[in-house]
Symmetry: C2
Amino acid sequence: MKMRIVVIGANAAGAKAASKAKRINPKADVTLIDRGSFISYGACGIPYYVSDTVSDIKELMSTPVGVVRDAGFFKKVKGVNVKTNTEVTRIDREAKVVHLLETNTTEKTFLEYDRLILATGSSPFIPKISNVNLQNILTVKYIEDAELLKNCAISGDTACIVGGGLIGLETAEALQQRGMKVTVIEMQEQLLPGVLDQEMAFLVEKQLRLQGVSVMTGCRVTGFTGMKTVEKVIIGERELPADLVVLAPGVTPNSGLARAAGIDIGITGAIAVDARLCTNDPYIYACGDCCEVTHLITGKKVHIPLGSTANKQGRVAGINAAGGEATFSGVIGTSILRVFNINAGRTGLTETEARANGYDIETVLSPAHDKAHFFPGAKPIVLKLIAERATGILLGLQAVGEGVVDKRLDAAATAITFHATAEQLSQIDLAYAPPYSAAMDNIIVAADIMKNKLAGHGRGISPHEVMRKLDEEDDFILLDVRSSAEHAEIGIEGAKLIPLGMLRERLNELPQDKEIVTFCKISLRGYEAQKILDAAGFKNTKYMDGGILAWPYALRTK
Amino acid sequence: MKMRIVVIGANAAGAKAASKAKRINPKADVTLIDRGSFISYGACGIPYYVSDTVSDIKELMSTPVGVVRDAGFFKKVKGVNVKTNTEVTRIDREAKVVHLLETNTTEKTFLEYDRLILATGSSPFIPKISNVNLQNILTVKYIEDAELLKNCAISGDTACIVGGGLIGLETAEALQQRGMKVTVIEMQEQLLPGVLDQEMAFLVEKQLRLQGVSVMTGCRVTGFTGMKTVEKVIIGERELPADLVVLAPGVTPNSGLARAAGIDIGITGAIAVDARLCTNDPYIYACGDCCEVTHLITGKKVHIPLGSTANKQGRVAGINAAGGEATFSGVIGTSILRVFNINAGRTGLTETEARANGYDIETVLSPAHDKAHFFPGAKPIVLKLIAERATGILLGLQAVGEGVVDKRLDAAATAITFHATAEQLSQIDLAYAPPYSAAMDNIIVAADIMKNKLAGHGRGISPHEVMRKLDEEDDFILLDVRSSAEHAEIGIEGAKLIPLGMLRERLNELPQDKEIVTFCKISLRGYEAQKILDAAGFKNTKYMDGGILAWPYALRTK
């Protein structure tokens, strides 16, 4: 008898699982069920449709050659049966039956399976606050949301985004591009919490403000007011007018159906699976946003729903359900965002996460051009590299800037996956020509700085710590070693200027025993200054990580 | 007494080594010697200066903040003494003395050293053919060449580039952008020999021709004619008029000085060094273009001069000469080129190299958009992935296309360095959002195809082999499974059309036992067609690797 494979959820993971299962086992009878009308679409593309970057919503549901991935496509091309507008109401594991409700006809049916794949996805988290159900309070998840958002996004109106994460910021840009006045409200003290460390998130926030977006961090939305439609956002004692609210505080896994069927749910609230993506029921697999994954650095279970992971997992679940053998090892938390002219992302652990996981670490902030500095179009990026102090093993990379960050993240993600040390990263034979990078790529430079620090040659101090010292009026010298011209152009209030080229002759202007913190534009000259002071017998010198380009606070301008 | 460190050659490797040595050992007396007047410049930038992409030659000699790296800069900022216009005529290893000739004054002097670093670089290879010394026969290496080339590049005139390697093609573009009529003459049967396999090089050649550059492969230049200035290029029986000739057939290491001093020269003709970059003389190090390196895949010694390697090596030689401890492990042959609108590069071994080194391999051709296909600006790239058949260990990646190839090369270079398998590459948590890649990045897709092939699910046949079968009128069916509209637009002469969506119903049109080669635009549908035919009992089906997008030969158009 033909093997019957049923897949619940027909987006990234489910569609992939169904197609792969059919290819692996062409004799199998594969059915793909979804409660929506649209299937297999690129939900990640929704903000770009809202901003008109993508003009036709069909493009999000099409193959690269322009064929819409609908039920007919899956039947004819993939050999997979599709049931849309069909809710799975219950899984009867003993009878190996899923109970269905056709939402248009309210007809109840059922379907037998030999193998079941759960790809039920995730849903936007809706906070339980007053009047959250008013009109014009929307989320960004389904294809229907895209049209709704576009209709509500009226030029000149005000929009509030609740949540400064990846989806929140992408949507903020989209709505601003439609002419709205946008405010992003984030509960944490920084944007992109859980993605970037605060000092890196500040660089993103700076740019958002430059683009005219209002940013409120450390603010908890407590409710909304309005008659039918939202009128105001309540933030404790404060109120903010809003014609449109987007809720983007995060997502929760759709694990209710599985939970009701007695399938194990993990510590994250998502479905627990083994490396084969099998649940505690040997006939049931799970993949995509509904299940949790192993973090390959910490070994802990995490719920990080992403289209990239969903596709990888769909393939594995499809192969295993069809009788093959495949495993999914896990993730290292890579994510990336483009917002306005800024690229921002990370892979591995942030400093905060690394410390929370008990690692003794060293960090590096390294700004530089993304291409040979003389090549037209070269733009700055700031890297933050994190390594374990005792071993030099890389734990994470963050990257923010107008220049190319994704390739540095991808190379670092690969290196981190293979437990590379800073020494090993510094030696990788990366692709070099002036249109692509400096002769020493940014990640090679960052790795070299890390090696200097781990060997005790370079002693860094974070911008955050320098800011604290300035605020608390610590007795130290903040030494700008850039040129006079650079110093006149822009600087840090309270810094003393001795250009690096004059430092050797002007050492007598500096007290030998006072703490001296050197810096320049990127802190290469800052580091060289520290070495010169060290050699001259100065006792307490450091350089400020990342220099002016990584300084997230206000700068003195002309 | 102060340690005296002398560095011969003040470009990438030498300048880096000197600066690093001084930082590591600030009490050392470091002297940097160069026979030229200009030092520490980005020779890789010369073609971009010729094309006016970089407007001021000083930019190639400046730091990112615009300070010219001249003798004064090295003295003041780096604490390094510089002697320009100074030829080292002899190394007296016994006395630890280098003999110098100041080329402007013809004064002879000498310099004692405790440690010597050779960074003598490489020179353009000048073929021994008749009249090679005529005027307007130039090379691209020194800063002086840049001005000369620019002066000789007269709009409307004809230029011949001898050698279709990286420098040859970059220069071809630069001269064409100056309005010259450019012909590239390459001895091998393809452009970029030693960089790309023929089928990938053909994709570059196709674009060069589209841009109006004439390409002659398999042609050996045997001499030149002209009175004072070159007038014609002689290619055996043929002659080609030329107002300007650029010799770019490759470079040779400047190892003569070392050889004369009895320092070991390696099998490649470059200076032999150990992992610490020490020569057979424990007081003499070598780094950069003048020395050979270990290829990390084959374990063999190779001479692959690149600015990226020179910088890494300069750091290592500098540290070791100054009394520290550092090693340079080797390279994997990564290189990249931008020529017109095409990015092309590779890392690891090509198919040709892998086979020559005795590997039993599998290959994959995988074309796809470089970003989410719906994202504006998404452009195609073709990847060629090479893995060892028995282990799945990756040996090489080549990438060619209008889209972003460098990040795929960098991630693959990292993976290959850590001996990753196709399985491991397919699971790497790369940075995904629509502006950066499809949900499954191109290298993940290529790795998945490799896994399908290694597991025997997919059976590929190269475009080259299909072309041979067509040429020799083999009895087989070339089956186009794209849509009728795609088929009408463009195609391969002699192919039969059955769109994939109809294949299941039209199987009776195909003979069960005849060889069938399926293809589509990228050969995903081609692969699906193979699986459908397999399942239907067809005995001899394959799909053509890479489909239309990787087909390097002529296409039928409307």
